[in-house]
């Protein structure tokens, strides 16, 4: 199997197109994940948000200031603007409604987007260098007013970029790291950590804080290719120094690219989540729930158990007997016909010489418990190795009744697929039959002659036989014709036996093959549906990663 994530990229085409393909693939992955019982609501919400966001045409992107209470988000915005945009206060928490600070030129086009975000309070600016950024000052996410945090969590999926604002007291807080950075850093592209109140730091402390945070983030980021989030030092008040932040903001990021990159990062992160829940790695080979070897072994064992119920040795016996019966009818002259008739009338044929009937009656001969158990055990080992999210779905395939039905249907189909089981015949049998008829006539004539000879005592030749002496011709004729008849019957028996065994052997192999094929196709059908879904999760998430990276 090749690696779809690392496959040769298609020629670079329109980035929008790649992004659209990426989002489509994300939806496909979600559909497949549904079949595996993986919760997909967050993915679908993210997909809807992304589609919605891409539908707002604007030359500006939205950057949110997110941070704890008192770290100076509003002061930072005010320092950046040079005027009081957002009210800063000593009372905690201060900002309870988001405030947007947007370039005047984009005010019009940003309107619908800001309404979608639910940001009602909008201020304009005409700062050069920030012409493509709408900055939204969000409420805090760590104060006793818990509704603020809810507001932030509702807005985070919708904004295009984030400045995580913190300060010297709060940069190591559990709320910031566990509650936000761990989840959101991988889902964002353009973002920075802004450490405010840096004026309290001595020159030597600055790099240490930066180093600590970077180390912290590196530890917490599991995404291998994520560019390290920059750490910026600012002082919002009383002597503002926000140059690091300003130059990062003005760093020439094109609005469209920022929006696309954010959507792409979110899609990739959700794709990774889905892949992890499904237990696949989009960057490696997809391993099935049940390995090829284990699967083949389970199918073979189950087939063996099924064939035991089908009873192949019995089938062979019946096939040989059927061949003999046919030979008897064709190759034994008048007497043979008579016995055949009697056998058929008495039902003996259908009991011992009817391979078709023998196959049809397979259900009477034994349950498929062994076969069901074999498959269930194999599925059980697949289940214990699977990721917890898909175990309930896998467990459903372990239900014995459907496995049993699947196997029964497999056997029925295998039997139905065989042509009418007509025993073989041979030209020799007709010849033997003719000879046997002649022998019978000879016997009859000889017997009549013997009777005539006994009653009328005509003069007949005698034949000299060693030891026995001379035997009258009628007796000799009778003996010879009976001997010939017997030899012919033996010959027929031997030949029919040989033909019958050959046919029975071929029949046995055909039944075994047909059952094996059917068990292979149907025995693990419920698992196959899940395997298929998991494969789709694998290919689709790989496609998401490939297309979104390019976009």
């Amino acid at each position: 199997m090749d690696h779809p994530a690392s496959a040769e990229p298609a020629p670079l085409d329109d980035a929008d197109d790649a992004l659209r393909r990426c989002l489509d693939a994300l939806l496909e992955a979600a559909d497949a994940a549904d079949l595996l019982g993986i919760p997909t609501d967050p993915v679908r919400d993210a997909h809807a948000d992304a589609a919605r966001r891409l539908g707002f045409p604007s030359d500006a992107y939205v950057l949110a200031l997110v941070g704890g209470t008192g770290v100076g988000k509003s002061s930072l915005l005010n320092a950046l603007a040079g005027v009081d945009v957002s009210p800063a206060s000593v009372r905690r928490p201060t900002t309870s409604e988001p405030i947007a600070w947007v370039p005047a030129s984009e005010r019009e086009s940003l309107g619908p987007l800001l309404r979608w975000l639910g940001v009602g309070d909008v201020r304009e600016h005409s700062a050069g260098g920030l012409r493509s950024i709408a900055i939204v000052d969000l409420p805090d996410m760590d104060s006793i007013t818990t509704s603020h945090r809810e507001r932030v969590e509702a807005l985070l999926p919708l904004v295009d970029a984030v400045a995580w604002v913190t300060d010297l007291e709060k940069y190591h807080d559990a709320v910031l790291h566990d509650g936000f950075l761990r989840t959101w850093v991988p889902r964002l592209d353009r973002q920075a950590i802004v450490v405010n109140k840096a004026d309290r730091l001595s020159g030597a402390d600055r790099p240490r804080i930066r180093h600590d945070l970077e180390a912290d983030l590196g530890e917490r980021l599991t995404v291998a290719d994520q560019t390290l989030v920059p750490v910026l030092m600012t002082t919002a008040a009383p002597a503002p120094d926000v140059e690091e932040f300003r130059s990062w903001l003005a760093d020439g990021a094109a609005s469209k690219a920022v929006v696309r990159a954010r959507v792409a990062a979110t899609a990739v992160d959700h794709a990774r989540d889905l892949a992890r829940d499904a237990g696949v790695d989009p960057e490696r080979d997809a391993t099935p729930f049940l390995s090829e070897a284990a699967r083949a072994a389970a199918i073979d064992d189950a087939t063996c158990a099924v064939l035991r119920a089908v009873d192949l040795p019995g089938l062979e016996r019946q096939a040989v007997a059927a061949t003999r019966a046919r030979a008897r009818a064709r190759g034994t002259g008048p007497m043979g016909r008579l016995t055949s008739l009697i056998y058929r009338a008495s039902g003996r044929d259908t009991k011992v010489a009817d391979p078709t009937g023998h196959l049809m009656r397979w259900r009477d001969r034994g349950p498929l418990t062994q076969a069901v158990d074999t498959l269930a055990t194999a599925l059980g080992s697949a289940l214990t190795n699977a990721s917890p999210h898909v175990r309930p779905a896998l467990a459903a395939t372990l239900e014995p009744a459907p496995i049993r039905q699947g196997l029964e249907r497999a056997v029925d189909r295998a039997i139905a697929g065989l042509d009418r089981l007509e025993p073989p015949t041979s030209r020799w049998w007709a010849v033997l039959g003719l000879l046997q008829t002649l022998a019978a006539i000879t016997i009859a004539v000889s017997a009549a002659w013997v009777v005539v000879w006994i009653l009328a005592r005509p003069i007949v030749d005698t034949v000299e036989v060693p030891v026995l002496g001379s035997i009258p011709m009628p007796f000799a004729a009778l003996l010879v014709s009976v001997l010939i008849g017997y030899l012919l019957a033996r010959l027929l028996g031997l030949h029919a036996g040989r033909v019958g065994r050959g046919w029975a052997g071929r029949l046995r192999a055909r039944v075994a093959d047909a059952v094996h094929d059917e068990v292979t196709n149907r025995g693990l059908a419920p698992l196959d549906r899940l395997e298929e879904a998991r494969k789709v999760v694998w290919t689709s998430t790989a496609a998401v990663i490939r297309d979104c990276r390019r976009g």
Binding site: R92, H177, R365
Partner: protein, 569 residues
């Protein structure tokens, strides 16, 4: 007012500690419930037990607050030396720093700090301070180092006085208020310091008023008062940069009221006794409610646990019944084994046991000419294999049903996710069952031997091995002839008929019925035991039946007794 609390209290504490341990032993399912149980255990061991024994034991004053609020700076200021590290890097303090007189050291480890790991403590002994008051700088409560929070929670449970330190930017953070909520609940005397206050006087007043409001709203006025009747103490506001020239502590004047209070407590034994008594009273007042909450937890869990138990019981019962049904009908046996047995029991020399006249003579002759050997090993092996397969299938079904049902519940979902082997029969299932089936088969043979070889058998000069008879009885447990005759089609029915005929002829009807009934009972025992073991894997994840309900009752009784206690002061 005396130095010791009444003995009734000491006895009650013993009882409560046992209850807290019992609760923890049931492994509380939700994190909140676990936290409540831990808190009770910590509080009983670290505070109530110590104070019930003696109000004279050293007072524990704990500095708590969010990371970066300047706890260590305050600590150093009170200690008068750089005992605790300070700095811009968060979180600075990862262990609790304990300032004490050397004489207080031993008693502290046995009493107040008994549930704190020694590695989490750093002792700073100072022979210059008065004994009887221990000052602790607790680590932060809200940083990514979650162990810090656990340690601080323990210290708050043991404290007699909490000094809460926050800052002008931090005071509305949610996490510290959760700790303050516990301070209120357990009636712990409290002082509040707000560090890094803005320089502007109006701003300062606004912040102080806002904090005052929040404290009142949180119901903390009572614990903040110097005594029950008094109004809450002043909030101590420390201006930004009010540092001592050394840089690692504040100007002493900045936290004057706290220094005065500590100096007063150090100097005055009676003041210490009063504070200890007050902390104990507060603690006992809040204890009833805490215990009732834990009783509620236990009761809710008991309902959940019983529901889970019922799910497992039902799944295994259903499967065992289905297994019994299949075993009783013998449908699980493969035809080839039966056919072998049919050939044996249908042989002339066997049928002579139940034939008369010419049949017996023919049988006797064929026994001499062509002695039939019983396919004992083959039939036993096939039966064992088929029996294990059908049992394993049912055990797998029961495990699957139980695990599926449990995985959907919040109470057990995590355990099921952690132990994937619960979804399938246990690893040793086949081996254990095989062992039991083999012993069962041997048991049948032994019983036949114990009853003495059947007399009729000897009378008829038979040479049927005891193993063959045992196998016959074994097969008879699976197959009831139930009135059908050998003339009927089907190997199973024919074999059952012939087998029964032979056995009846060998043992007599009554003895045969008894043998078969015993064998059936023993097989049922073996299967039930095996299924019981399988169910036990789930059962072992749950507290024993009734334990939680009983615990809840005991907790409620204890809560009532706590409420009935006379006040110690």
């Amino acid at each position: 007012m005396s130095g010791t609390a009444p003995s009734a209290l000491r006895e009650l504490v013993e009882r409560l500690e046992t209850l807290a341990e019992r609760r923890l032993a049931t492994r509380p399912r939700s994190e909140a419930a676990l936290a409540r149980a831990m808190r009770l255990a910590d509080h009983l061991a670290g505070h109530v037990r110590v104070r019930a024994a003696s109000l004279d034991a050293p007072l524990l004053v704990v500095l708590v607050g969010p990371t970066g609020a300047g706890k260590s700076t305050v600590f150093n200021t009170i200690a008068g030396r750089a005992a605790s590290e300070t700095g811009v890097l968060r979180p600075t303090t990862r262990v609790a720093v304990v300032l004490l007189h050397p004489d207080d050291h031993v008693g502290l480890l046995d009493g107040t700090l008994t549930r704190v790991l020694p590695s989490q403590l750093r002792f700073v002994e100072d022979a210059a301070v008065e004994p009887g008051l221990v000052l602790v700088d607790a680590p932060d409560i809200d940083s990514v180092e979650h162990a810090n929070r656990e340690l601080t929670d323990r210290l708050v449970e043991a404290a007699d006085l909490a000094v809460f330190i926050t800052t002008a930017t931090r005071y509305a953070d949610r996490v510290p208020w959760a700790v303050l909520d516990r301070v209120r609940e357990r009636g712990l005397p409290l002082q509040v310091i707000v560090n890094r206050m803005p320089p502007d006087a109006a701003d300062r007043a606004e912040v102080v008023a806002d904090i005052r409001r929040l404290l009142s709203e949180a119901g903390l006025d009572g614990v903040q008062a110097a005594d029950e009747a008094a109004p809450p103490r002043e909030i101590i506001a420390v201006a930004e940069g009010a540092l001592d020239p050394a840089g690692d502590r504040l100007e002493r004047a900045a936290i004057g009221p706290v220094l005065d209070e500590i100096a007063r407590l150090r100097a005055d034994r009676q003041a210490r006794l009063d504070l200890a008594a007050r902390a104990l009273t507060g603690s006992l007042t809040g204890l009833g409610e805490s215990i009732d909450q834990i009783a509620d937890d236990a009761e809710h869990e008991s309902i959940d646990v019983e529901a889970l138990r019922r799910l497992a019981d039902r799944a295994y019962e259903t499967s065992l019944d289905a297994l019994r049904h299949e075993v009783g009908r013998g449908t699980f046996l493969r035809e080839e084994a039966l056919r072998q047995w049919q050939t044996f029991v249908g042989a002339d020399q066997m049928t002579r046991f139940f034939s008369e006249g010419i049949g017996r003579i023919r049988g006797a002759i064929s026994a001499v000419l062509r002695p039939a050997t019983a396919p004992v090993a083959e039939v036993r092996a096939a039966t064992t294999e088929d029996l294990i397969a059908v049992a394993r299938l049912q055990a797998a079904e029961a495990a699957r049903r139980t695990a599926t049902a449990w995985s959907e519940t919040p109470a057990a979902g995590r355990r099921i996710a952690e132990e994937p082997e619960l979804w399938v029969p246990s690893a040793g299932f086949d081996a254990r069952l095989q062992d039991r089936i083999e012993r069962w088969m041997e048991g049948i043979t032994e019983e036949i031997q114990a009853h003495g070889r059947p007399k009729r058998l000897l009378a008829r000069g038979a040479t049927v091995g005891v193993n063959a008879m045992g196998t016959g009885v074994m097969l008879a447990t699976f197959m009831h002839t139930g009135g059908i005759t050998g003339a009927e089609l089907g190997v199973a029915a024919a074999t059952a008929f012939l087998n029964q005929k032979v056995l009846a002829a060998l043992f007599g009807e009554a003895a045969m019925a008894e043998l078969v009934a015993h064998a059936r009972q023993h097989l049922d025992d073996a299967l039930s035991t095996t299924f019981e073991e399988e169910r036990g894997r789930f059962e072992s994840l749950l507290p024993a039946s009734g334990v939680l309900a009983e615990l809840a009752t005991d907790l409620r009784a204890a809560a009532a007794d706590v409420r009935a206690l006379p006040s110690p002061s």
